[in-house]
Amino acid sequence: MATWGMVFDLRRCIGCNACAVACKQENSLPDGVFFTKTLSEEVGEFPDVTRTYVPTICNHCEDAPCERVCPTGATYTRADGIVMVDREKCIGCGTCIVACPYDQRTRLEPEMLDEGLFGGGRLTPFEEQGIGRFTVGTVVKCTFCHERVDAGLQPACVSTCPTEARIFGDLDDPTSRPRRLIQERRGRQPLAEKNTNPRVFYID
């Protein structure tokens, strides 16, 4: 059994958010809801200034605070390390949202589902085929595209990333690309001080 993880190569990322849109496609996300997004930050002062791009996603932490605080057991971790939310069990208390140091969880509010991507409550055939996966009032987040991963594919954000800034693979396998990159380029975990042991690493 693999343990899935992801590496973000900050030197590659161009902040285009193709990842975010691919994710919206793959997961039929409502307007304003993101399972992954890339942020930017201006650093320095003119003319010695640059901008960094920081992809963010659920880190599928080994010691996941979201799972720890969940009162219903809706949040659970699969054997391969993917942290999931069981929408049948979730009561939408939001405790996991305030517990996630990475701000990666969203509770589905009625207007998010009712409004439709084009507004006005008109749902397109695309939305109609996808909306059934969501339950209003429950919390959603990235699943590393678990069904794609189970089928041997890469998560949608990874496979679309124009610069290959997202590298996905088995963190248990010392020869996997993410493991090699973490080793060679000193991958570090986001907010490591939170002791969540994320399965997402940044290299730059």
Binding site: G15, E26, Q129, T160
Partner: protein
């Protein structure tokens, strides 16, 4: 849930995958489309088997589904019932049947043609069906009211035609180690096959440590990823390049062997600007060893002089290289710093680094061919070249590459064809042909054949007066405002729009454009979604979208070649037709079917394989045309393409590197001098009244550092406004798509205009202030966002802010269109190429708040929902 058997992720649902190609920008990245068993398209991905985009797609490509299912799409042919026309005025569309619509359009167009074919202003801008652009030719009309010259390259494409006999150009990512990007997003945010280029450039950066230097007024994506951002005052890129050239020449960092052997740099130029020729027209060079003039192909020639002043038959002459050196005498980095603000030391260092990286003298063997290796390239695009002296700007950038021998060579700056058409030749407009005196034939007309000079002018934008440019559609405003002066003996009264939005794209005063639209007797638009221009139409002919239609193209791929299939993933959602069918139906109604098929045979290259020729009197479907284009490329039928999706392969080195081997390149462009004099003669002969005002100085065989007129605007306009597109809105057109809106309007660089904090402090302006941005030509309103990533002289306006209210309620409007800050006049148009100035001098005035009309409704100033 682990025990769930039903897929919730779209790509995993029961259904099928089809291969196709993207058209969310004009390029054709390869895709695969997932269609559920219920016939719903629920995922579009990059085709993993494409060597070009490598299975990758940009955010726009990822958002195709939202265009397909956009409820604002035109669903049937529509007829206007509201006689009142105006910006934001509801046309009160009435659905009509296709027969009625086509008959109506045919009748109205026929009326125009019978009256005067020149009265039709066609704006046909489908880049993946370039052949449609030629349809007006079937009517004897070249009055393209298009905007393509403004925001890609009026000067760019002809210059590529001069230098590489190609449409576009790119740095060779396969070997480049030092990549200068000036005013273009190649490899990061925009231009040629963005996802593909970003993929290859990222690999070069990471895996080969390619150094990237980005020269731009704004910290763009490319600049953010670059090893070095060189902030530059807008509209001074040419001067920066000339500063580099100065250092390369002064410090003898140039590739003399390349210049002597592969270019016309040693050709002797006389005082009239022409090469010095003998009686038979053969050009002289100077033999530096024997100290005498010889013909360029004299077998006795020992060493060609690049420098010096000589005399032949009493006529003083200099090698072209010396002419350039003379110009560069006034282009020291210090002199250029005064214009560009780039520190002279930076210019010197970059020039030295560039020359060092170019490894002058090195070679590489590729496919058994020994080629000069020059892993350094100066790449540039719209922002750098979109100025009054565009031809000179383009030429200056090319000359930096020339000096280090990096033209069309591994690692250097290489010509990119628009469309190769067939495998065995570098075909289409990109064919390399020998010209006179050992030089390559220049091919400045990459989009359509030269439009002949006429007086009175047949074209409102005077295309016949621009012998080497791209249609300057913006001049229509200028000429019609003073029609008598420009000898226009007719007034256009009909407009044909096809995937074109000139009211958005064209520079100049909106009111004047609206007046032009109001003066139209009849406007027909072929389109998918409502926009600023087609809301003026009398009839809408709705076309299929990219997920419903057939096509075959490979447009402007830098490092790859081979046709890309587009095939329908579903039956059309609505009562729409393909563009092919629409134009065939109109051709039939206008009696030009035969001519149209003849033109299609020519522009699609079917003439090259007679078995593919279209029969004169038949109408063909999009599928049939696509099939022929596939067959023309590699002899494979549609079944093969459906199975493979594309015929894309890396560009073959023999067609990519030095396809002109044995010919000399145009370091010095004598054809520009010739074009000037030929035009002058024609204008003299026709006694054109404004010939003395014509900017004859714009025609320079070598670039000079003369400042563009934008710098000479009144001093009160103390800042430079520029516009930019990031990758999410590359090539525009995607605002209104909910997924694109969802990422674009969450980035503050797309909801406010950017100003340097120090500049703001000096003007007592603050973050979030609402300002009027006023140029001598127009004004817009915007909120300010302060950013350190902005040159202190620049005001940067995202293209996302340039939409105005339309019938498409998904489109958030900004505070007016950036383009109305720009002049649409001859004074700011390159008389050589037709390229208009794309930078505006502006002043900022603080307003108390957002003007009421702008704050209301679905604007970027509004609160609440992201779109």
């Amino acid at each position: 849930m682990e025990n769930s058997t039903q897929a919730v992720q779209n790509s995993m649902k029961p259904g099928k995958w089809l291969y196709s190609s993207c058209k969310m920008c004009l390029h054709s990245c390869n895709t695969r489309i997932h269609v559920t068993d219920d016939g719903v398209i629920n995922k579009v991905e990059g085709n993993p088997a494409s060597p070009s985009n490598n299975g990758r797609l940009c955010p726009k490509g990822n958002a195709a589904i939202m265009r397909h299912y956009d409820p604002a799409r035109f669903r049937t042919p529509l007829r206007r019932t509201n006689p009142e026309k105006g910006p934001g005025v509801d046309p009160k569309w009435e659905p009509i049947g296709w027969d009625e619509a086509l008959d109506l359009v045919g009748r109205e167009l026929k009326r125009t043609l019978e009256d005067d074919p020149r009265k039709l202003l066609p704006a046909i801008n489908d880049f993946q069906k370039l052949f449609l652009w030629a349809w007006p030719a079937a009517l004897g009309n070249a009055n393209y009211f298009s905007s393509v010259g403004n925001f890609c390259g009026g000067g760019y494409h002809p210059m590529n035609g001069f230098i590489h006999a190609s449409f576009a150009a790119a740095n060779d990512v396969n070997y480049c180690n030092y990549w200068i990007n000036n005013g273009g997003g190649d490899g990061f945010s925009s231009h040629l096959h963005t996802a593909a280029q970003a993929n290859h450039v990222a690999k070069a950066r990471l895996e080969r440590n390619m150094r990237v230097v980005v020269v731009e007024p704004r910290l763009s994506i490319g600049a953010a990823k670059a090893n070095e951002w060189v902030p530059i005052r807008p509209a001074t890129d040419r001067q920066f390049a000339l500063g580099l050239a100065h250092v390369l020449v002064a410090e003898k960092l140039y590739d003399a062997k390349f210049l002597k052997r592969d270019t016309n740099a040693p050709y002797l130029v006389g005082p009239d600007g022409y090469f010095v020729r003998n009686g038979e027209g053969k050009i002289y060079v100077w033999d530096a060893v024997d100290g005498c003039a010889r013909l360029w192909d004299d077998p006795e020639l020992k060493d060609l002089a690049l420098e010096g002043t000589y005399s032949i038959d009493g006529q003083a002459c200099r090698p072209a290289f010396q002419k350039f050196k003379d110009i560069l005498a006034d282009c020291t980095p210090e002199q250029m710093e005064a214009i560009t603000t780039v520190p002279a030391a930076t210019t010197r260092r970059i020039a030295r680094e560039f020359a060092k990286a170019a490894q002058i003298g090195s070679f590489i063997e590729i496919d058994g061919r020994v080629l000069p290796l020059r892993p350094a390239g100066y790449n540039y695009y719209r922002g750098a070249q979109g100025h009054k002296y565009s031809t000179m700007a383009n030429h200056a950038f090319k000359l930096v590459n020339f000096l280090v021998g990096a033209i069309d060579t591994p690692g250097g700056h290489v010509g990119v064809t628009l469309d190769d058409q067939m495998q065995d030749i570098r075909g289409g407009m990109g064919q390399v042909q020998p010209g006179e005196n050992g030089m390559m034939k220049t091919m400045p007309h990459q989009l359509h054949p030269e439009v002949p000079f006429s007086w009175p002018p047949n074209e409102t934008h005077l295309m016949g007066f621009f012998p080497i440019g791209v249609d300057p559609g913006h001049l229509t405003q200028h000429t019609l405002a003073d029609a008598d002066k420009f000898g226009l003996d007719y007034r256009p009264d009909t407009m044909l729009l096809c995937h074109s939005n000139p009211l958005w794209n064209l520079p100049g005063d909106r009111e004047q454009w609206h007046a032009l639209l109001r003066s139209m007797r009849f406007v027909v638009a072929i389109d998918i979604l409502p926009n600023e221009t087609n809301e003026w139409a009398d009839v809408i002919l709705p076309s299929h979208d990219l997920l419903e239609s057939w096509n075959m193209t490979m447009i402007e791929p830098p490092h790859h070649e081979g046709m890309c299939l587009r095939q329908p993933a579903t039956a059309p959602l609505y009562d729409t037709k393909s563009e092919e069918e629409i134009f065939y139906e109109l051709s039939e109604r206008l009696g030009v079917l035969e001519t149209w098929n003849g033109i299609l045979n020519f522009v699609n290259g079917f003439l090259q394989k007679p078995e593919l020729m279209l029969e004169a009197g038949r109408k063909y479907s999009d599928r049939e045309i696509a099939e022929r284009k596939g067959l023309l490329w590699n002899g494979k039928g549609l079944d093969w393409y459906i199975e493979h999706g594309h015929a894309v392969t890396p560009r073959r080195p023999d067609k990519w590197y030095r396809p002109w081997e044995g010919l000399r390149l145009h370091f010095y462009i004598e054809d520009i001098v010739r074009a000037r004099d030929t035009l002058r003669q024609k204008m003299e002969a026709a006694d054109v009244p404004f010939r003395h005002e014509w900017a004859w100085d714009d025609y320079q065989p070598l670039p000079t550092p003369v400042p563009d007129p934008v710098h000479l605007e009144p001093a009160e306009f103390d800042l430079y406004a520029i516009t930019f597109k990031d990758i999410q809105i590359n090539f525009g057109e995607s605002i209104g798509n909910p997924w694109i809106n969802d990422i674009v309007f969450k980035d503050p660089v797309h909801t406010a205009v950017l100003l340097n904090p120090k500049t703001a402090r000096e003007r007592k302006l603050g973050d979030g202030d609402v300002v009027r941005i006023e140029s001598p030509y127009g004004s817009i309103v915007a909120k300010l966002a302060l950013s350190e990533g902005v040159h202190p002289d620049a005001v940067c306006v995202s293209n996302a802010l340039s939409r105005v209210a339309t019938q498409n309620t998904g489109v958030r409007h900004g505070g007016g269109n950036f383009n109305q800050l720009l002049p649409a006049n001859l004074k700011n148009t390159d008389a050589c190429s037709g390229q208009p100035e794309t930078v505006a001098k502006v002043k900022l005035t603080k307003l108390v708040g957002v003007p009421a009309g702008l704050a209301a409704g679905n604007s970027v100033f509004g609160e609440g929902r992201a779109h």
